[in-house]
Amino acid sequence: SPAGSERKYPLLFNSTEEEYAVASNRRNGLRMKALGICN
């Protein structure tokens, strides 16, 4: 049988979709900086 993750992931705890999107964008900003994409 396949391992784990039978529930519908991803799951958010203590956060709205919007709050996650903001934090995720910040992480992408760090990635873009590392990649030399400075827009």
Binding site: S15, R26, G29, L30
Partner: protein, 153 residues
């Protein structure tokens, strides 16, 4: 009819994150007397220009209690996205959980992490579980060797 391991794991995660938000000083009651916790070192300010956070290792419920109480403001602001959750049966009817995902706080980027938690049935109440081990590790993007677009174009 007992709950499935999957249901126990999900209920535990819900309790774990809810308690952090609502009452950080009571998070430690989820841990066993001799539990070990490797968690965010909140005494170091968040470095929002880094994609990882430093961790610290604590032993015993009392130290864990002090840790969550002292850092209660940051603890209650923790938000999590769990991407994957694997589990196995551990020794003595325990449950081993391995999650991956992202955690973040107001004003921080999302930090990618993996975390292992071991639950053991409570000696007094077989329907309850105590955390005996809890380790988090942050995962950097590891751009080493990756060409920047400046090199590529």
């Amino acid at each position: 009819m007992g709950a499935s391991v999957q249901d126990i794991v999900y209920a535990f995660l819900e309790t774990y994150y809810q308690r952090m938000k609502k009452d950080p000083s009571k998070v430690s009651s989820l841990y066993s007397a001799t539990a070990e916790l490797t968690h965010i070192n909140y005494q170091i300010d968040f470095d929002t220009s880094s994609d990882i956070l430093p961790t610290i290792k604590l032993t015993g419920k009392e130290n864990i209690s002090k840790f969550f109480t002292r850092n209660n403001k940051k603890v209650s602001d923790l938000k999590a996205k769990i991407d994957t959750c694997d589990f196995q049966t551990a020794l003595h009817s325990g449950i081993l959980i391995l999650t991956t995902g992202e955690i973040f706080w107001s004003g921080t980027p999302a930090y990618r992490f993996c975390q292992t938690i071991v639950l053991q049935p409570n000696a007094d109440n077989k329907n309850a579980y105590d955390v005996t081990n809890d380790v988090i590790r942050f995962i950097p993007d590891n751009w080493i060797g990756f060409p920047s677009t400046n090199d590529v174009n």
